[in-house]
Subunit: 354 residues, 2 copies
DNA sequence: CTGTTAGCGCTTTCAT
DNA sequence: ATGAAAGCGCTAACAG
């Protein structure tokens, strides 16, 4: 393994002082072109990797971060992402960090607009954004760009924006995987149900749209004759959802399996549980407690998950490395698409991130 | 999130000096029962979590670790575990760490015995052990226990031993998952092949034995009539392996799918590739390059993987936290059993640990 | 046994 | 623009 170089060593190699090396490392200016060149060359030659843990003790600056996320109640998907964010904040707490979180209603475009508008006024060093509405997010991040505030997306990448980085799944691939999984467990010739949320002011989240494309692409490639029907649920109104599903299944008697492109599979599995339906397979997303419970109970057959904690954690880490060292992270960081079934769920949810 | 307490703060709260707090934290003795009680009570009350990154700068002691692992060539399973170990060593390199690795031939009991015997003579602070042979490992770790050298197992837990911790899969569950996966993709009524390595001096590794139990348990629970046949390969002799497989498939014409309980699925898939066999499904373990290649090419249908890098990384981290803070890690740490198919392998291998 | 103190490597301020 | 030096929180040696 590579030798351990200290700032002092680098200074000696480059023929400057430690102070100058530090100024170069942090891009803090007041360095002659000549010194900068010498130092950068030295850093290059030893392949120096700054270690955020090591360099933190003496840092006096205060860093302010703002996260803008869909609001959630305990046990919902976005909680896991926020947990990852908070884990990182805690791990780097020696850095005098300050994080604030603003929430919006992911089912209500107007709530999103108002929260973004509030966020745009904040004077912070960087933001972490969990997008839902495409155009709205584009508009918001344009403002951030013009103000020079760097931002990182978690969960879903938004086109025509210029984030520092994105951490989340390749949603198209996720949908593709879901289709493969569902097709492998339903009876040949059965129809498929796509369950979607009814939302206010916009058709579907960008995430869901991309997943649906991936799903359809797999069907087209591997089973073009399979019939697809659209079922709907109402996020905050179980009674109405079940009524809608009663109607849906009456009208579509040949459904052999269903898929849900967001974390709300438990709404459908709850319906199955209530009605005693056991012959319809179900594939969903996210290892939130209610989904996990129904996976264990057999009302959900398969879940995919994309490491939400990791997403949140890495978003913060990348942001801090950028702020501290001007280190440019990889732009698109696709998380694994984990496949969970009854038989491997236990060890999955008991494992914590490294 | 919890307030940030420094050693100085703790000292004040407990009414002692920072030095005493440090002595308690590191269990370094020379502390009165009274002081120790006060400090520990304070630590308890603020739920103090020592941070190995933060506390490292001033550490002068040198720590010597020894890893004893199966030897490998580039691209094999154990390389991934060693990578995790080295990653941790690098991350904690400010700690004046010294790690040495000894290797043994996992297919040769006598090589293992000789390497263990050499390892037992080393004077180190802790060891990380990758076991293969059950009795031999028990004997070896008994010596370590009697010498007071703590050790951590990676990859497989060995009964009747007293390790500091274990990081690896629940092998029984792994086999169980493999059975479910294989059964879900083979034709109903087809026979199943278990491919195993011929080894010198011992029947099978503890890992493989446990996986086989899990596999058989699933079959018994869900498909008791499925016939199972045993195929063999020779790890370092492809020609002989293929010859054996020619014979095996001639004698067992009804095989619909096979499973390999170690990382050598590529030997079987290589045979399929060579012979142009496409109608036999294959489930294997470990996302090593050769397996991944054949998964992509369709000669392997499914791989399971148990985060070998994470295992190695966590083994080192737990060891260091024990040595530095006397922190007792959780004994059994089961890694997730990741399911990889052609459709989700890309994002999996491109993601690095947090 | 315990408090004090001198480092550790890094950042940041302060002279120059 | 740059080097010197102080200070961060922690460990470990030292003086009682």
């Amino acid at each position: 393994m590579t030798k351990k170089y200290r700032v002092k060593d680098i200074a000696e190699l480059a023929g400057v002082s430690a102070g100058t090396v530090d100024r170069v490392l942090h891009n803090r200016g007041d360095v002659s072109e000549e010194s900068r060149a010498k130092v950068e060359q030295t850093l290059e030659s030893i392949n120096y990797q700054p270690n955020i843990h090591r360099s933190s003790i003496g840092v006096k600056r205060k860093y302010r971060l703002l996260a803008v996320l869909p609001q959630f109640v305990h046990g919902e998907y976005w909680e896991q992402i926020e947990n990852g964010i908070r884990k990182a904040i805690y791990e780097f707490s020696h850095l005098n960090l300050n994080i604030e979180v603003l929430y919006y209603d992911q089912f209500d475009l107007f709530s999103c607009r108002s929260t973004f508008s509030e966020a745009a006024k904040k004077d912070v060093d960087a933001m972490i954004v969990g997008p839902t509405f495409h155009d709205e997010t584009m508009h918001f991040t344009n403002i951030l760009s013009s103000k020079g505030i760097p931002y990182v997306f978690v969960d879903v990448m938004v086109d025509n924006t210029d984030p520092l980085a994105f951490y989340g799944p390749d949603s198209f691939a996720s949908g593709y995987v879901e289709a493969r999984l569902l097709l492998s467990i339903i009876e040949r010739g059965a129809d498929i149900a796509l369950f979607q949320a009814r939302r206010v002011g916009d058709e579907s989240s960008t995430q869901v749209i991309a997943r649906k494309y991936g799903f359809m692409a797999y069907l087209k490639d591997h089973s073009p004759d399979t019939k697809v029907a659209y079922g709907y649920y109402y996020n905050s109104d179980p009674a109405r959802s079940w009524e809608a599903m009663d109607k849906f299944f009456a009208e579509n008697p040949n459904i052999g399996g269903g898929v849900v492109f967001n974390s709300r599979a438990y709404i459908v599995s709850g319906y199955f549980r209530e009605k005693g339906i056991k012959n319809i397979r179900l594939v969903g997303c996210a290892t939130i407690p209610r989904n996990v419970e129904d996976l264990r109970a057999g009302y959900i057959d398969c879940l995919i998950a994309e490491r939400p904690e990791y997403q949140g954690y890495m978003a913060v880490k990348a942001t801090l490395e950028y702020l501290l060292y001007n280190k440019q992270p990889t732009l698109l960081n696709f998380t694994p698409i984990d496949i969970l079934i009854k038989e491997n769920i236990d060890c999955y949810i008991n494992t914590e991130m490294a």
